[in-house]
Each structure stands twice: as structure tokens, then as C-alpha cells.
């Protein structure tokens, strides 16, 4: 599967916020690649820099260091036209399905704009047909939803509209920042399945951001575990989760709610002091890469 050319590749990208002594290292030496038909999951605790990576990919932030390649080209050299093309190709699905749709517009309006912007050749009825098509593709009934406003839809439906919008734009890369964390358990899975289908049927590249390891395992092919702005462990999702090497990955895994392990079970308990130690350790620069196995890497402090 590694033979596919990456659409987007981050090479040793860094980003800090704030000035002088108080700078926050939001992303440090981050490298990964997004390939057609593959999903990369980015996991980590709150504040570890996941959203920062997403925004770097979205080009909302300019990296402090490193470079971002788009179809093998360095974006900085392609200028405005390249950027426009890039923006069109890379779309995002937000966490909050409510605030990501303008409550003032109908579903029809929301889907019509990206078509007008992204697919100029479409005219008249063809636009309506495309909209209906898109809705059907995300398993919504066009007749029922086109005239509706977002507040008349459920969270899952709204998230589907969001996905339809990225498709309308003709996106080749979709960045999904915790797309299901605000959804009910019951609809959550539907959205995840939809993402899986898109990846498979349309060959989009997916960056899936979450702190829920179980869903990451469900949708992703590769996984990146982040802590304090660094990717501390990465590789094939099953290998990493089955055999976590970095202490922080282990901690994360053990904290995931698991019905198999009751609290009364003393063995399952986290030791607060040990947790603190892992955190302290992981905050240090992790610059030694170790290849643990095939497509499974981890980093250590030097």
C-alpha cells in the first residue's frame, strides 16, 4: 500500500505559538503523508497539537520550519494559483456539526456554493442533479432535506451534509477533526462508515483526528500518536495498538474506557505518580527514532 504517491506530505514541520520564553511548541518536527484511499489517524490528549497539525495541513497556519509538499511540489514555490488549487483539493470536516453549517441557509444553498465555486461547468438543472446525487451518496433523501435548515436536522445528518460539501468541492484530501465526538453513539458509527466508504470508493485521502483510540482503530490504516507537539509513535494502526512501545501510547491505551476491565480490578489502576512521570518524560524532546517493526516506529528522548 505504500506505493501510492502521497497527495500531501509534511516534512519536519514545526509550529510554535507565543513569543520569547513562553513559546508553546504546538507542533515539532512533524512528518507524515496522506495517500489516496488511505486514512491516517492522529491521536493524542487534548492540547497535544492535533488541531495545529490539521490547520497546518489546511494552510491556515504557516509552518515555522519544514515544508509541505502537494503532489510532490513545494507549495511555497507554486504561488497563488497553486494555493488556490490546493485549497480546493483539501477540505475539512469540523467537530461541531452545528456550528459548521450556517444556520441561516438551507441545505440546498450550502451545497450550491461549493459547486458554483469548484465546478464551474455545471449549469441549471445539472446543479440540482449534482446536489441530489451528493445527498444520496451520503445516504440522505434529497427530497426531504434540500429545503431544510441545519437546525431541522440531527447531528448525524448535519455531519453528512458537511461531508457532502467537501465532496461537492471535489476534495481529494479530507481532514476530519474529531468529526464524531459531538454525536450520539448511535449515529457516530454511521458517519464513520461513511468516511470509510468514501475512502474506498472515491479514493480520497483522509486525516482523521481523535482522542478516541477505538474509533481510530476502526477507520484508520495508519496511526500517529501525538504528545506535547511531537509524534511519539506511528505506524500501522493494528501493530501500534497491539504492541504500543512509547510509554505515553501505553498510558493512553490503558486509560481508554474498557468494559472488560472493571475499576474494582486493582491491576487496572493507574498510578498517579507513574502517570506524572510519563508526562514529564514525554514532554522532553523525543528525537531518537526507533523502528520497532515493519511500519511501526517510535521515538525516545536522546
Amino acid at each position: 500500500m505504500m506505493d501510492q504517491e502521497p497527495i500531501i506530505a509534511l516534512e519536519r514541520v514545526s509550529k510554535s505559538f507565543g513569543q520569547r520564553g513562553k513559546a508553546v511548541r504546538a507542533a515539532h518536527d512533524v512528518s507524515f503523508a496522506l495517500r489516496p484511499g488511505r486514512t491516517v489517524a492522529l491521536v493524542g490528549e487534548s492540547g497535544s497539537g492535533k488541531t495545529t497539525c490539521a490547520r497546518l495541513v489546511m494552510r491556515e497556519y504557516q509552518p515555522d520550519g519544514g515544508r509541505i509538499l502537494f503532489c510532490g511540489r513545494d507549495l511555497d514555490s507554486t504561488g497563488a494559483v497553486g494555493l488556490k488549487e490546493y485549497r480546493r483539493a483539501v477540505q475539512m470536516i469540523f467537530q461541531d456539526p452545528f456550528s459548521s453549517l450556517n444556520p441561516a441557509h438551507t441545505v440546498d444553498f450550502i451545497l450550491r456554493r461549493p459547486l458554483a465555486l469548484g465546478q464551474l461547468h455545471l449549469k441549471g438543472r445539472a446543479v440540482d442533479d449534482t446536489i441530489a446525487d451528493l445527498l444520496r451518496r451520503v445516504e440522505l433523501d434529497p427530497g426531504a432535506v434540500t429545503r431544510k435548515h441545519p437546525h431541522e436536522l440531527s447531528g448525524g445528518q448535519r455531519q453528512r451534509i458537511n461531508i457532502a460539501r467537501t465532496l461537492a468541492m471535489g476534495a481529494r484530501v479530507i481532514v476530519a477533526d474529531e468529526p464524531t465526538s459531538m454525536l450520539d453513539v448511535s449515529v457516530r458509527l454511521g458517519v464513520l462508515n461513511l468516511l470509510n466508504e468514501m475512502k474506498r470508493d472515491l479514493g480520497v485521502a483522509l486525516l482523521y483526528i481523535t482522542h478516541d483510540l477505538a474509533t481510530a482503530r476502526y477507520v484508520a490504516d495508519d496511526i500517529l500518536v501525538m504528545y506535547a507537539g511531537q509524534i511519539v509513535e506511528w505506524g500501522d494502526v493494528h501493530r501500534v495498538l497491539a504492541d504500543p512501545r512509547h510509554p505515553y501510547t501505553r498510558l493512553l491505551l490503558s486509560a481508554v474506557p474498557d468494559p472488560e476491565v472493571r475499576f474494582d480490578n486493582p491491576g487496572s489502576r493507574l498510578d498517579p505518580r507513574a502517570v506524572e512521570a510519563i508526562r514529564r518524560e514525554a514532554r522532553h524532546l523525543q528525537d531518537r527514532v526507533v523502528e520497532v517493526g515493519p511500519n511501526h516506529f517510535t521515538r525516545h528522548a536522546a
Binding site: D184, L189, L270
Partner: protein, 273 residues
């Protein structure tokens, strides 16, 4: 089962009154919580979990209307308490951690003041006594007592959550209601906090009504679990029963829609929620 339950909710029905029609948020719900037990309520968002939690402390404001039902606490019907008795009852008997505990501390009062007004109200403590008690409680949740002179915004989310729990413990309540106390936190912090609660409840012997929509977490933490669907309590049982032998279709669907860390990552069916 000879021990009488600490809390007994019977046929509770609550409506939210609308301009024309009413919305039934809780529909004929009955359950018991024994002393020292952790009872979990799980279900979709909007199924009425918080409404039940509020009802136990009679915290509702219009347009909520309790149509029928009784809520016995230690044999006394909470719904019959007059204002004075109610104020005595609140927190002293039942303390609460709210859905967004992050926001349940008054932003313009120091932490010690938020301990003090409670202790003064219920125990007539002086400032100094309150401070002593606050220090004791904060130590329980691993927060340096010196920091009680800080304002809430000076703490991180997890710390704020623990402060609320400390305030909960201050009067040694019999029951602590926790309405999604950890949803806004990341898994590691969530785990730490729940473990702390678990320890506290073992050492102090209070019961917990634990509300969440994370079934996995619920099974880990609770003794018994109730599953709610659109205002109704559709299934009740021990954690083990709910996990391994769910009876109701809805419970089964819920489990089915849970990707698990273990087992085959096959395509799961959607629950019809």
C-alpha cells in the same frame, strides 16, 4: 436484599411545558439506589438523564413540571419538603457534580469562598473553620490547599473538576449525583478523576448516581446500570448483565455501535437511535 434503598425514585414523570403542547422528558421512571452503590444512567443525548438528576434535588425551574411520581430519600419524599427543609436537604444529603463542572464554579469568587458559603449555611462554620475544612477536602483530591485563595479561572479544567468534587465531599453527603462529570476532559484525566471518585466512595461510603453516554466507562465504574430511551427507563441491571447479557433491543444496538479496542474491526451495524 433487606437493606432499604437510600434513594428510591418511583414512577417519576416530568414534562416541559410548551406554549401549546408539552414535552415529556421523563416518563414513568422508577429505580432504587442502595447505600454505597454506584448506579449508572446511560442513554442518548436528550433522553432525560439530566432532568432526573435535577429532580432529585428539586432544582427545576419553570417550565419543568413534575406530573407524578415520588422520590424517597431515606424514607422521606423529597417532593414534600418545604423550602427550608429543602435547603437543609440539598448538598447535605445529596451533592451534585454538573455536566460541565468546568463552569459550575462562580468565576468571581475565590475557591475558599465557595467552600465557606456552603459550610456557613449548613454548619455555621467561621471563616477559619471553613478554611480548615476546605484544605482537608482539597488534599483529598490532590490539590495543594494553598491554592484555595485562587480564582477558578486560574485552574485547569481537570483541577476545577476535582475542586467541585472536593466541595461535594465537604458535607459528607449520602449521595453524589454526577452528571457527565468528565465529558470535557481527555481520557487520561478522566481516568484519574474517576479513580479518585471511586477511592473516595469506598472510603467514605456514599452512593453515586453516575450519568454518562459512554457505556464502556459506565460498565467499568458502576455497580448497576439503567438504560434510558426517550424518557423511559428501558432496562436495568448489574453492570455485568448489561454488558454481557443485554435484554432490550436498544441496549444491544448500543453495544453494537461501539467500536471496541479488542476483537475484529468488522463493519458494525448502526443502532436505530
Amino acid at each position: 436484599m433487606t437493606v432499604s434503598p437510600l434513594l428510591s425514585v418511583q414512577n417519576l414523570t416530568i414534562d416541559y411545558i410548551g406554549a401549546q403542547s408539552d414535552f415529556r422528558a421523563v416518563d414513568d421512571v422508577s429505580f432504587d439506589i442502595s447505600p454505597g452503590e454506584v448506579f449508572g444512567l446511560a442513554g442518548e443525548s436528550g433522553c432525560g438523564k439530566s432532568t432526573i438528576a435535577y429532580a432529585i434535588n428539586r432544582l427545576h425551574k419553570p417550565p419543568a413540571l413534575i406530573r407524578q411520581g415520588r422520590i424517597f430519600f431515606g424514607g422521606q419524599d423529597v417532593l414534600d419538603l418545604d423550602d427550608r427543609a429543602l435547603r437543609e436537604f440539598r448538598w447535605h444529603k445529596v451533592a451534585m457534580v454538573f455536566q460541565s463542572a468546568m463552569n459550575s464554579l462562580n468565576p468571581v469568587l475565590r475557591v475558599e469562598a465557595q467552600f465557606h458559603d456552603l459550610l456557613k449555611r449548613h454548619r455555621r462554620y467561621t471563616k477559619a473553620q471553613s478554611r480548615e475544612r476546605a484544605a482537608e477536602m482539597l488534599r483529598l483530591v490532590d490539590i495543594p490547599p494553598e491554592r484555595m485563595r485562587d480564582y477558578p479561572h486560574q485552574f485547569s479544567g481537570g483541577m476545577r473538576q476535582r475542586i467541585v468534587i472536593a466541595i461535594c465531599m465537604a458535607l459528607d453527603p449520602k449521595l453524589v449525583v454526577m452528571d457527565e462529570p468528565t465529558t470535557a476532559l481527555d481520557v487520561v484525566v478522566q481516568r484519574e478523576i474517576l479513580q479518585r471518585i471511586d477511592e473516595l466512595r469506598r472510603s467514605r461510603g456514599f452512593s453515586v448516581l453516575f450519568i454518562t453516554h459512554d457505556l464502556g466507562l459506565m460498565v467499568q465504574f458502576c455497580d448497576r446500570i439503567g438504560i434510558m430511551l426517550r424518557g423511559k427507563l428501558v432496562e436495568q441491571g448489574t453492570a455485568e448483565q448489561i454488558y454481557h447479557r443485554p435484554q432490550h433491543d436498544y441496549t444491544k444496538q448500543l453495544w453494537a455501535s461501539f467500536p471496541s479496542l479488542h476483537g475484529d474491526p468488522i463493519k458494525l451495524e448502526r443502532a436505530s437511535g
